[in-house]
Amino acid sequence: MTIGRRKKVDGPNSRESVSRRGFMSWLVVGWATFAAGLGGLGAIMMRFLAPNVLYEPQQTFRAGAASEYAPGEVSTRWKAKYGIWIVRLEDRIVALSTICTHLGCTPNWLASEQKFKCPCHGSAFRANGINFEGPAPRPLERHKITLDDEGVMIVDKTVSFRQERGQWDDPESFVAV
Amino acid sequence: MGALKHIINLVSAPQVSFLVAAIAFFFVFPPTAGFERWNRRLRLNLLWTVRGGILLHALVIGGFFLSTLDPNFRAIVAKPDNVPIALLLFGTLFFLWYAMKQAVDNDQRLASDQKPNEYTDPSEPKILVWPDLVYIELIAAVLCMAALIFWSIALEAPLEQPANPTLSPNPAKAPWYFLGLQEMLVYFDPWLAGVVFPVLIIFGLMALPYIDTAPEGSGYYSYSRRKLFISLFLFGWLLLWVYLIIVGAFMRGPNWNFFGPYEEWDIHKVVPLTNINFSALVWVKLLNRPLPDNIIVREIFGIVLLGIHFLVVPPLLGVTVLKKFYSRMGNVKYAVFMFLSMAALTLPIKMFLRWTINLKYLVAIPGWFNL
């Protein structure tokens, strides 16, 4: 409405005798559609930034048989390639994510102190992934780990389990030993 | 229909079409008063009226779309990368007509001692830029964007096989805006067509305002007061650039053979292209002697001709036909103007000689200078 008034004031009306309504509606249609168009361009830009396909490395891998891991062992075998620690706890084997839940650094496993210590802000996690030191807000995530027909463990990084959501009892979050 | 197509195929061969166009050109765009009289007598100036414009557009656009009924024509024109060339063709025609129409109008006004259309009385108030100009600029931009998007939806950008340096496509073409240069490569050595000519074009264009220093005709469309420059500029732009692009894009097929617009691009087409150097032509054919061993002696006729072209003809013209022009321009401007014009003329002359006497090089000093 205000826009209309603005134009009305602006418009040199001596030459034309248009009804105010008709005059306004053309203007409103024009600018409203134009604004919508600009919004559309913005949306296109946004959409453009979200890729439809990814070329990430394989998200599932074979982690060997359960017997390859000693009781209590924290294996860093797959850390470099897949970003996974295989940890053999008392009664289960789990696949721990190597991403610190604080700000995404990669902690180090300190065997002498039996903890994962993150170099960025000092968070520390126990072998089972529970956080106990520093700013980390929640335990490390665990990934799906299952046995295939041949008894080989398959880790699937696309599925994760979070302790604070009570997902660590999900049968797919561990392999019983 | 078939016969008509066949005739068009024959006529569109550059030997014919270029020659006809080059001659007709000066009647349509007369460079001198003499040509202008002919232009009037032939009523060619009527092209630049509304009726003439309609006829012109109807002929070209109608002809173009009728031609798309022919599968061979369609196959070539419909290549995505050739679409801009069609756009260029229509655009050039329209703007040429539009500019000429306004120029002719103004010429008539000037002839009857009126001011040109563009003239505004200084006492009249100027137009404020806001909102008139910025509004139409916005409209133009938005329309242009919409047109681009629709164009992009309708036509996929071309993408062929992955680059393979061992397998050249047939024909292998430069981007369309350089097809004029590629066409020149048929007639000249790469260093000339690929390096010297482009540089000359750029410098010639830059030199233009310093050669054409006459103050009249600035700031409005006009023809008759600037006929020499407009005629020469249009000759360069329309015939030596746009025409060659169209030939290069639509009529050069496999093995860079020429194909009429309705001809199928047959990879097996064989055209005799044997050619002969000027030296051999003179020494062996005319004088009936073996070629001399000394290169300079051997090429002496070509060198002399070249000398005449660049060094003798301009002064000669300066004291005869262009006497008034020469005296107006002065030595330096006249020399630069003539050098550029004569250089531009070498292209049609060379083309013409190639078609008529199969001339390869006028002067052939291997490793140094082939022309």
């Binding site: - | 563009e118 909102p131 496509p169 430069a174 409005y220």
Partner: protein, 263 residues
């Protein structure tokens, strides 16, 4: 109607310090405001405040200069967007372009970019044609015409360097033909005339790995080096130069007395 209430709100809004600090002029209600609108706006200050009548007419200018600039802007935007997905290496270049069609969201950006580029070449030509036909290159605009010729050259160079980037057969062969011309440059191209002059004793300075073509391609034939080089030329080097010349061009239009007109 709640018009009054609204008007009150809007009036206060447009009168607020924040609004006034950003939009100095406000709604152009009168001549002065219309004048100020152009003067105080960064994007519009390229324009003069007022123009003779004929210069506002499409009939005279065809808007070709403005469209050329607009297309340059479109090309810059779409080009920057394409850079998110395109990698100029022999492993990725072609497949990234394939993906633009197959999977990349709004991959039509490539089409817009390519067709804009073609259109820009044409628009620049028509602009030059219009300027010539109105004799607008004459004094005092001689220099600006020269700047325009430089811009024309850069428009084509930009288009030409972009032609290689899809890394397909069209690209490599068009550039092969083009770049071999560089090898024919007199004196500094290995195939060019007079190349033998550039030598010290028996040592030739210009050869396969030291001529104009080599500098252009960064390689003896078109390969990974040329692709990267053309990418940098296309995306950074030439646009920068073109922008500088464009600035001069626009500046000179104003300084040389605005759009030309009859005396």
């Amino acid at each position: 109607m709640t018009e009054d209430k609204q008007a009150g709100f809007w009036a206060r809004f447009f009168g607020s310090t924040i609004w006034r600090s950003i939009f100095r002029v406000g709604i152009p209600r009168d001549r002065r405001a219309r004048l100020m609108q152009v003067l105080s706006n960064f994007f519009l200050h390229l324009h003069p405040v007022s123009l003779p009548k004929h210069a506002v007419k499409l009939k005279y200018t065809w808007c070709m200069g403005g469209l050329s600039f607009f297309l340059f802007v479109v090309l810059t935007f779409t080009g920057v967007l394409l850079m998110f997905y395109y990698r100029p290496t022999i492993e990725y270049a072609y497949n990234d372009v394939v993906d633009l069609r197959e999977t990349t969201p709004m991959g039509i950006m490539r089409e817009i970019h390519r067709w804009s580029a073609h259109l820009m070449v044409i628009a620049v030509w028509f602009h030059m044609f219009r300027v010539f036909m109105t004799g607008s290159y004459k004094a005092p605009r001689e220099f600006n015409w020269c700047v325009g010729v430089v811009l024309l050259t850069f428009t084509m160079l930009l288009s030409f360097t972009g032609y290689l980037l899809p890394w397909d057969q069209l690209a490599i062969w068009a550039i092969t033909v083009g770049s071999n011309m560089a090898a024919a440059t007199p004196f500094v191209g290995q195939e060019g005339p007079g190349v033998a002059l550039l030598s010290i004793g028996n040592v030739g300075l210009i050869g396969r790995t030291s001529d104009a073509r080599f500098l252009l391609l960064g390689d003896t034939s078109i390969g990974a080096g040329a692709l990267l080089r053309f990418y940098v030329f296309h995306c950074v080097f030439f646009p920068l130069i073109a922008v500088v010349f464009m600035a001069i061009h626009f500046w000179r239009v104003r300084k040389d007395g605005g759009v030309s007109g009859p005396m």
